[in-house]
Amino acid sequence: MSGETPGARPDGPPDNTLDEALESVDPQAEPGLAEELQQEVAREQVAVVPDTGARWRDALRRATSGGWVVALGAIVLAVVAGSILIVVTDEDVQAAAPYFFARPGDTLAAVGQAVGGAYSALFQGAVYNFGADSFAAGIRPLTQTLTNATPLIAAGLGVALAFRAGLFNIGGQGQMLMAATAAGWIGFGVTGLPFPWHMLLCLVAGVAAGALWAGIAGLLKARTGAHEVIVTIMLNYVAFYLLSYFLATPGLMQAPGSANPKTPPMQDSAVLPPLLGDQYNLHWGFVLSLVAVVYVWWLLNRSSTGFTFRAVGENPKAARVAGIDVSRTTVLVMLVAGGLVGLAGAQQVLGTVTTGFSADIDAGIGFDAITVALLGGSSPWGVLGAGILFGGFKAGGSAMQAAEGIPIEIVLVVQSLIVLFIAAPPLVRAIFRLPQPDGRRRPRRAKPTTVTEGQV
């Protein structure tokens, strides 16, 4: 008996088939197989986490192994919680609530209006504006969503890639700022280069700057064991104040004849051209982000380099015994991750804000990228979806504020709640009664807690 099941799915571990397989096996007829299956069930329930001594790693695995169902559940929960907040903060509801028992209809109508209006505004601000005169104008919100998503996707990929290799890249802000500095400086400072070459040079410089900035953290980790979380966070400050200094110093990056800490505008030859014509903000950076998604997918799933990344991420000790150079891999991962975040920085200055930038050019994207990576389950396609979702929140959030008077903070609360729920998959699973992967939190009576059958 080779143990091969003919119907085994070609890709992805058969997560839910184990119980089914158990059901279909007759222990009397095939005691050996049944025994093995039972062991496997036991193993699944015990949730064997190889003791790599890294609690961070386990926490990370827990947070990222939620799957898309949990991500969806988190979004639903967050939207529900957001609705409650919208209702509570809505003035009409507040006005109608005191006489709720006399005329409940008023309150309920106000609630319906507040919630319905809010999410309708969110949709019209993020996807399609039904009030617009033409299709071209109606679709504008969607292009704005994609524009917002562009750097979120690129930076999210950088964080997700590091996650998969067991590294926390919290330094998105610093990497973006350094990338913006390099790309921007060349973008306004170098003259005489024709269009595509100037732009490409800026892009390459931005990506390289981001890679190097993250590479410092990788090198320190590989050589000295310094924790990348601390190093990347501190490098954020270094980058921010370094850029602030450049911007405040005439002759460096400050626009001539200005007292503001702001650069001159990018030269036309350095700007990412619009993707759908001049009436939209969407630029070719979005295509670059899509290319990056495909590249990261290939890297992680089809390349030998990505294989070593994942091996080091899951079990660095076993990777070392298998002849993988863990230090080298750590540095390499941070270089690639930083490069991806650097792409986001370059996209910001060459595509989104081309009129000159200041030290807040990162617009919080370096941190939002962590959220995007988590929501996307650290998979490239997940990051694409999560990036677009967050781009939509950003675009729709302003519409909610403008049309319905809902504070932008509520939108941010919803975003934050999504992350909160994502980070607690067991909570989401419990609320939606999804099966728990490790069985530990199932009701004891319904399912066994631990089976220590056999040896691990």
């Binding site: 008996m1 039972q38 380099t305 899951e314 000790k317 015994v321 993988i324 059958e453």
Partner: protein, 506 residues
């Protein structure tokens, strides 16, 4: 207290893990529950401990029917359990661990640590445990940690004590000490349930033996039964307990280790000027009690140790100073001691694990691209060849049983072109059926004409596999002797006492 299980049945879906099991354990007896991994022993004990609810049957203590809602009820009723994986808080002291879950407090909610300390000292003195109540658990050796578990059970006045595979993590010495403790507990009138799959231990300590197979009791045996009888009862067929192997046919190629020294991170010498040679076609077993430098020796052979002096020559080429990758490429196959941390990536699939150390070129990687088709074809072949019991090659390795995991490691290492094979504790935590298979493969590897080095802490295995045995003690070689050396002599050597005719076989 007399423990009786009556008709216990526990089902998981269609699978009956326990099928109408009847078991009586009298006070003052050591009752051995013998069975393969997955036979249902631990399920039964988890029912007893209140972790599972039985679908049918009842638990009686002194003829009173019990209804356990959870481990708390079981503990209160006088059942104690020493788990295979200790349930201790590593950063707590012994006393803190003992009182955990049963904290006594003084007024104002202050923990009464003195009370716990006194308890630890009292039990410790009664059984001669020598456990310091203020020692932090994570600093203690494994054997002592287990004693803390025992103290924990005893401190709650347990009359029935269940030992679930307690020797899996112990050295032979610690195992002997544990046997002594179990006898002592028995003599004090406790009812002991001892779960194991190791035959030698069973015969040594058991008063009664019940054999479980596929969730059913298949028979009782007397402690006088032979290993072969017990094993065939346990596995359900005749088992080859001795390793069948012919005379070694020595060749010219060889592994030559000279004055090898390994220094640990704290500066202590872990391997102390070790010299030996293994010819092609022979098995050298490195024997010794766990922690006497064997692990570090094998790691040094593979280039995993940082501070290494001396020389390791494989067919004349020096390996010291080369990277792990280079050493693997030189044809060294390596089965690490702890497959879960060093041998496998638990979250990876079987096929991914099978190529873990082969991703530097064809056939599994071409121009940086993984060759998935070639990899999966290879994986299917190896799963069949090494009889890995699994649903498919996409199963995550962390889900496999110990024996099957080890087969995956073995399959990966033995399918390269090898010039040296090093296996550290290849059968630790592996069921009897798989042990048989693994031993066969090791002998086959020897017979292909390459040197084979096996580290084993189990004397039986050492004697069975070896052409020559090298005993290590405190990082040094005590002696290299033929496999026919009497066990007594080997036992003495493991305690550091060199035989008189040392060096004859080397």
């Amino acid at each position: 207290m007399r423990l009786e299980l009556r008709g216990i049945t526990k089902r998981f879906g269609a699978l009956v893990a326990n099928d109408h099991i009847d078991l009586v354990v009298e006070p003052g007896e050591i009752h051995c529950l013998l069975g393969e991994n997955g036979a249902g022993k631990s399920t039964l004990m988890n029912v007893l401990y209140g972790l599972y609810t039985a679908d049918e049957g009842e638990i009686l203590l002194d003829d009173a029917v019990q209804d356990f809602e959870g481990p708390g009820d079981a503990m209160a009723a006088g059942i104690g359990m020493v788990h295979q994986h200790f349930m201790l808080v590593p950063v707590f002291t012994v006393a803190e661990n003992v009182m955990l879950g049963n904290e006594s407090t003084r007024s104002g909610g202050v923990l009464d640590l003195d009370d716990a300390r006194a308890k630890v000292n009292e039990i410790s003195a009664r059984f001669g445990f020598h456990v310091d109540p203020d020692a932090v658990v994570e600093d203690l050796p494994v054997g002592v940690q287990q004693r803390v578990e025992i103290i924990k059970a005893l401190s709650r006045d347990a009359d029935v004590i269940v030992f679930d595979e307690p020797t899996a993590v112990l050295t032979p010495q610690e195992t002997d000490e544990l046997m002594g403790i179990m006898r002592q507990l028995r003599d004090e009138g406790a009812a002991i349930v001892f779960i194991t799959h190791k035959l030698r231990e069973v015969r040594e300590v058991a008063d009664r033996i019940t054999v479980v197979r596929h969730g059913k009791i298949v028979g009782e045996a007397s402690p006088g039964a032979t290993d072969a009888q017990l094993a065939s009862l346990m596995v359900g067929r005749a088992v080859e307990l001795t390793v069948r192997k012919g005379e070694p046919r020595l060749r010219e190629n060889a592994l030559e280790v000279a004055d090898l020294e390994v220094v640990g991170p704290d500066g202590q010498v872990l391997v102390d000027r070790v010299s030996f040679s293994v010819r092609g076609g022979e098995v050298l077993v490195v024997a010794g009690v766990q922690g006497n430098g064997q692990t570090e020796l094998t790691e040094a052979l593979l280039g995993l140790q940082d501070q290494v002096r001396g020389s390791v020559r494989l067919d004349g080429a020096e390996l010291v100073g080369r990277s792990v990758r280079q050493i693997l490429q030189a044809g060294v196959g390596f089965v690490p001691e702890d497959r879960n941390t060093d041998g496998l990536v638990g979250e990876f699939t079987i096929s991914e694990n099978l190529v873990l150390d082969r991703i530097d070129g064809p056939p599994f990687v071409r121009r940086g691209n993984l060759q998935l088709a070639a990899r999966d074809r290879f994986a299917r072949e190896k799963v069949a060849e090494f009889d890995v019991r699994t649903q498919g090659i996409e199963t995550r390795v962390g889900r496999l049983s110990g024996g099957n995991q080890q087969k995956v490691v073995l399959a990966r290492e033995l399918s390269r072109d090898l010039r040296l094979f090093v296996a550290a504790q290849p059968t630790r935590g592996v069921d009897v059926g798989s042990i048989e298979f693994i031993h066969k493969r090791i002998v086959e590897t020897r017979d292909t004409g390459i040197p084979v080095v096996v580290v084993s802490t189990e004397l039986d295995e050492a004697v069975a596999l070896a052409d020559r045995i090298m005993v290590m003690y405190r990082g040094r070689v005590v002696g290299i002797v033929p496999a026919t050396t009497p066990r007594d002599t080997l036992g003495l050597m493991m305690a550091g006492i060199a035989p008189e005719n040392e060096g004859d076989a080397a």
